[in-house]
Amino acid sequence: MATATTTAASFSTAVRRLCVSTSTSIRLRHVTTSARPPTRLISTPTPHRLLPLLRFSATASPSSTTVSTISVGDKLPDATLSYFGSDGELKTITIADLTKGKKTVLFAVPGAFTPTCSQKHLPGFVEKAKELKAKGVDVIACVSVNDAFVMKAWKEDLKVGDEVLLVSDGNGVFTKALGAELDLTDKPVGLGVRSRRYSLLAEDGVVKVLNLEEGGSFTNSGAEDMLKAL
């Protein structure tokens, strides 16, 4: 499965420029997906650009790659996710950080501020967080293909504390690597490519329990079902 990482240094530089109002010009590399005449320059390469920029196509065609959908017994692919810490600082965290040597419950929602996600899925896990942790779960994290800013706002809107970590799979890289993409681009709902709804339990990064829904339906990926499986 494809692993995708960005260096923490280049990420934090890029985001710092975006978050803070400054008058200095940005050193982000402007790489666009449309063809441009040669007079439009890309910024000079920076020495600490170690890896190619991640590209994300909002109109991704149905995957014809060899990424198969994740299943029980698989090791979770590594990826870099982002979130806002309680200090208000934008941070990155990898799947490895979340899962290595730990019992981790990961659940994904198609979109922040959408009904099932906001009214049932996330609140369900917040409610059951204590019980899950009493059963030995170390980390509970909610993943969505939304950016970290939106995830933070959603977290505050639903008044979620530290029981559940809300992390952003901003470029959809982790979701794609899991084979859990939900392509809603041609649907009028206006969501683009998102994640299918799922919940999983990983022990030291290996999937032990997996409840992967079709699309955004909500049948077995809730907190109660995860509790029963533990």
């Binding site: 960005t6 280049s10 990420f11 890029a14 985001v15 420029r17 975006l18 978050c19 803070v20 109002s21 400054t22 008058s23 200095t24 010009s25 940005i26 982000l28 590399r29 402007h30 790489v31 666009t32 997906t33 449309s34 441009r36 007079t39 439009r40 320059l41 910024s43 000079t44 920029l53 991640l54 590209r55 994300f56 196509s57 909002a58 109109t59 870099t80 982002s82 990155t92 979109g111 501020f113 959408t114 009904p115 939304n146 950016d147 970290a148 800013f149 939106v150 706002a153 959603w154 809107d157 952003s168 901003g170 470029n171 959809g172 649907k187 009028p188 709902v189 206006g190 969501l191 683009g192």
Partner: protein, 192 residues
């Protein structure tokens, strides 16, 4: 600052100075530049359901109207929330006094996030918020920018425009999305 100017000069030939990116310029027709493109009005999911997730074609927004429209990289982000939207909120009366029919804010976000953000900023009565969820509007105008390095994916530059009956009268694009020099309300007020 001098070094930034030098860097900028190296990056952009003088002919493009102050224009930044963009396929369109003053005098172009914004609807013709982005044919078959529609935007999604910021709304809650329930509103979406009851409206059958309707989209708004560009001509409905621009034809026969005087519109001030501004685009920004993302809802809930720093400059966008703290400076860009408030600058338009504060000056809404001045825009109305100059005959502007609507002030529109657009970003590459889904309409639900845009809606929640607009409500948080209490800006919905002054400004109309629209989501360019698949980035097609911005791509057509070549105002898109790849912010994957910041884990944000494809987004929009920071820009503003004054459009009269679909014709762009003024267009301001920041050289970098973190800047907020030419796309604020005060600048475009002078251009109307």
């Amino acid at each position: 600052m001098a070094s930034a100017l030098v860097r900028g000069a190296r990056r952009f030939p003088p002919a493009m100075w102050g224009r930044g990116f963009a396929k369109v310029a003053a005098g172009d027709d914004i609807v013709a530049a982005a044919p078959d493109v529609a935007l999604q009005k910021a709304r809650s999911w329930d509103e979406g359901v009851s409206s059958n997730f309707s989209t708004t074609p560009l001509k409905d927004l621009f034809q026969g109207k005087k519109v001030v429209i501004f685009g920004l990289p993302g809802a809930y982000t720093g400059v966008c929330s703290a400076q860009h939207v408030p600058s338009y909120q504060k000056n809404i009366d001045k825009f109305k006094a100059k005959g502007v029919n609507s002030v529109i804010c657009v970003a590459v976000n889904d309409p639900y996030s845009m809606n929640a953000w607009a409500e948080k900023l209490q800006a919905k009565d002054a400004i109309e918020f629209y989501g360019d969820f698949d980035g097609k509007f911005h791509k057509s105008l070549e105002l898109d920018i790849d912010l994957s390095a910041a884990l944000l994916g494809p987004r929009s530059h920071r820009w503003s425009a004054y459009v009269e009956d679909g014709k762009i009268k003024a267009l301001n694009v920041e050289k970098a999305p973190s800047e907020f020099k030419v796309s604020g309300a005060e600048v475009i007020l002078d251009q109307i």
